[in-house]
């Protein structure tokens, strides 16, 4: 075991690593937030990601085109989430059963597909696949620090951060976003106000499926260049946690994702110092719970303060108005 060198661990390269590890969760959190605002607790994100990861790499290897691969993954994600939406909304299926069953189907189904179609077990890494393009900024080539921080990202990594910022704009600045949020806040009130809640909910589930599929495609074609059994390893659930951490607000959720990414990339560095592997893998999960707790405790404190202030104001109003 070599001595711990903090300078090596907390170097400027950590920024690049953090952004890279958080990108898949960022894309998944977009999916989680959209369905959350439609009052749907979408646990199937994990399963859709897993399916999309395998489908995209398969299509990519077969056609040599990452565009077609992405389209195939998105189509699959839409189809699965359409089925979930119809089963949940039309046939009143329990969303938790659906979510967990889809995840179980994804785990068994991807293993089955690998066995039946490629004759491999565990992982599938075709040589002829075309990954998502990496964007290098030529102007920064001479500068190691800046080029490490700003250059060399996969297309999906950039897109995921763009998507979550766009989501904030759509949610809080457009009519569509207002309608979506109104369904999540109070469905009956939204219906009374003339919002077609069925359509909004189904639409939200399907769109959420698209983003989940993109997150999955990125896992197998950008984050790594292979598919491995269960490679999502709880990222769909972490996205749901990050969504909760942000209370449905994309910007807060983004912060949560970055913390996961940081803990993951820090763990990877600590591993080379002989830190037990299991504890390294554990870090993102523990960090999730810790930041969830801190954020909720903070929210509670501000709520309590607000209530006190209101109460005080109420008392003053009462004493000020003689009756």
């Amino acid at each position: 075991m070599t001595t711990l060198n903090l300078g090596d661990i907390f170097s400027y390269q950590l920024i690049h690593a953090t952004l890279r590890s958080s990108a898949p969760i960022v894309m998944a959190v977009v999916a989680a937030i959209i369905s959350k605002h439609a009052n749907v607790f979408n646990l199937a994100i994990e399963g859709i990601m897993l399916f999309a990861a395998l489908i995209s790499i398969t299509v990519s290897a077969a056609t040599g085109s990452w565009v077609l691969a992405l389209l195939a993954a998105v189509a699959a994600g839409m189809l699965i989430s359409l089925l979930i939406g119809l089963a949940h909304l039309k046939l009143s299926a329990n969303i938790l059963i659906l979510g967990f069953s889809i995840n179980a189907i994804a785990q068994g189904g991807t293993r089955l597909m690998m066995q039946e179609f490629f004759g491999t077990v565990g992982s599938y890494a075709p040589k002829e696949m075309a990954p998502f393009p990496r964007l290098n900024i030529a102007a920064l080539d001479g500068h190691p620090v800046l080029s490490s921080i700003f250059s060399g990202y996969s297309l999906m990594e950039i897109l995921s951060f763009v998507c979550i910022l766009l989501l904030w704009v759509v949610l809080y600045k457009t009519k569509t976003g207002l309608r979506l949020r109104s369904v999540g806040l109070n469905e009956t009130a939204a219906r009374t106000a003339g919002v077609n809640t069925y359509r909004v909910k189904l639409g939200a589930i399907v769109v959420s499926g698209i983003f989940a599929a993109m997150a999955g495609a990125h896992l197998s074609m950008g984050y790594t260049n292979m598919f491995a059994e269960g490679m999502t390893s709880g990222r769909g659930f972490m996205a749901n946690a990050a969504m909760n951490f942000g209370g449905g607000n994309p910007l807060n959720a983004l912060l949560g994702c970055l913390v996961f990414g940081l803990s993951e990339s820090l763990g990877a560095r600590l591993q080379s110092y002989g830190f037990p592997n299991q504890f390294v893998l554990m870090m993102p999960y523990i960090v999730t719970v810790v930041i969830l707790t801190f954020s909720m405790a903070g929210q509670q404190r501000t709520q309590r303060k607000e209530k006190l202030r209101e109460l005080k104001k109420h008392r003053e109003d009462l004493s000020g108005a003689p009756r």
Binding site: N94, I97, A104, G108, L112, A241, N244, P276, F279
Partner: protein, 355 residues
């Protein structure tokens, strides 16, 4: 509890949806190029025909039932405890730790091991529960994170702490005095399953017949009302979560002391989620849970038999089982199929159930 109005055609619909589920599954098997009739016959044989098959079904039945009860009891208070898997692992590890202590008589060792498992499960389950009642941390998220953590902790114990000399990824075998006797050899079922009768009886009594059970169900129906009439809703939720954790820990201890006699890395592979599904299909009614848990256990045991005898890959079965679960559990399909064979759809009765 007021009696629910009986929906006409409900049982017919349930039977038909099970038939539909198996038909869809058969079609899948056919499409993959295997013989569906042979597959289903072997599935049935693997679950019920012969000592080994029945024993395997019973072996799977125990953790599915217990984790199902753990989920069901929490859901009554609107606490979505997805963390039974973690409690199961922690209970199993604790029981293994105690089981390795040499020189204890069985009369002391077995209760001690079970108690250790229960304690570990309770503590592990209580942490997310405490975070929820104190800081309102969403339990569905935190418990899933705790599951991953528990799985990794188990893996750490197996590989780094109790490393066996052999290459297999498991702890050493626990002492004879901590082992339950096997029944239905050569299957792995043991006398530990008789504990299930006791647990189910106690839980049914606790939830449906006692003061605490009433508070628990009232809290689930309306937390504000419960607080208003003077039940401490938070305390009730927390106690319920602890009970559920204890049951999860017991399930784990029974796996170690009854089934495996050691702890394998990743031994559970989502058993607790089968328990949760069993509970969801039973509409979280602990009195119906033994039946649904048994059906799921039979499916799992049958799947093992199927894999052993035919060349149908296990992955196909693991894919089919959740599909069958979806089709069975969707009320809409059941009602639709039930009403197909009736002159008039029982519209009013259905609304009565939903309300």
């Amino acid at each position: 509890m007021p009696k629910l109005p009986k929906v006409r055609g409900e049982s017919l619909g349930t039977i038909l949806s099970v038939v539909l589920a198996f038909a869809v599954g058969g079609l899948m098997i056919l499409l993959m190029g295997y013989d569906p009739v042979e597959a289903y016959v072997e599935l049935f044989k693997g679950a019920f025909v012969g000592k080994f098959s029945i024993g395997t079904t019973l072996e799977k039945f125990s953790p599915i039932l217990l984790t199902g009860i753990g989920y069901a009891v929490c859901v009554q208070t609107k606490y979505f405890n997805l963390g039974m898997e973690g409690c199961l692992y922690m209970g199993a590890v604790a029981a293994a730790g105690i089981g390795l202590i040499p020189g204890l008589p069985a009369v002391v060792h077995i209760p001690l091991g079970l108690l250790g498992g229960i304690l570990a499960g309770t503590v592990w389950g209580a942490i997310p529960g405490a975070l929820r009642v104190k800081y309102n941390v969403n339990e569905a998220c935190s418990t899933i994170m705790f599951n991953y953590t528990a799985t990794l902790l188990t893996s750490f114990m197996v590989f780094n702490v109790w490393r066996e000399v052999t290459a297999v990824s498991r702890t050493p075998i626990i002492e004879k005095s901590a082992q339950f006797t096997k029944i239905l050899k050569p299957s792995r079922a043991s006398t530990a399953i008789f504990l299930l009768v006791f647990v189910v009886a106690v839980m049914v009594w606790l939830v449906y017949k006692t003061n605490f059970g009433f508070k628990l169900r009232a809290t689930g129906h309306n937390m504000f009302f419960s607080n208003y009439v003077g039940f401490d809703a938070k305390k009730t939720v927390f106690l319920t979560v602890c009970i559920s954790g204890a049951i999860g820990g017991l399930a784990g201890a029974m796996e170690t002391m009854g089934v495996f006699y050691c702890v394998w890395d990743n031994f559970s592979m989502g058993t607790a989620f089968d328990g949760m599904l069993a509970s969801l299909i039973a509409k979280n009614d602990i009195r119906k849970l033994p039946f649904t848990a048994f059906v799921l256990a039979a499916l799992r045991a049958g799947a093992q038999g199927l894999e052993r005898v035919t060349n149908v890959p296990k992955a196909l079965v693991t894919t089919l089982v959740p599909m069958i679960i979806i089709l069975i559990s969707v009320d809409g399909i059941r009602d639709l199929l039930g009403s197909l064979f009736q002159k008039k759809a029982p519209q009013e009765a259905q609304e009565g159930v939903q309300g």
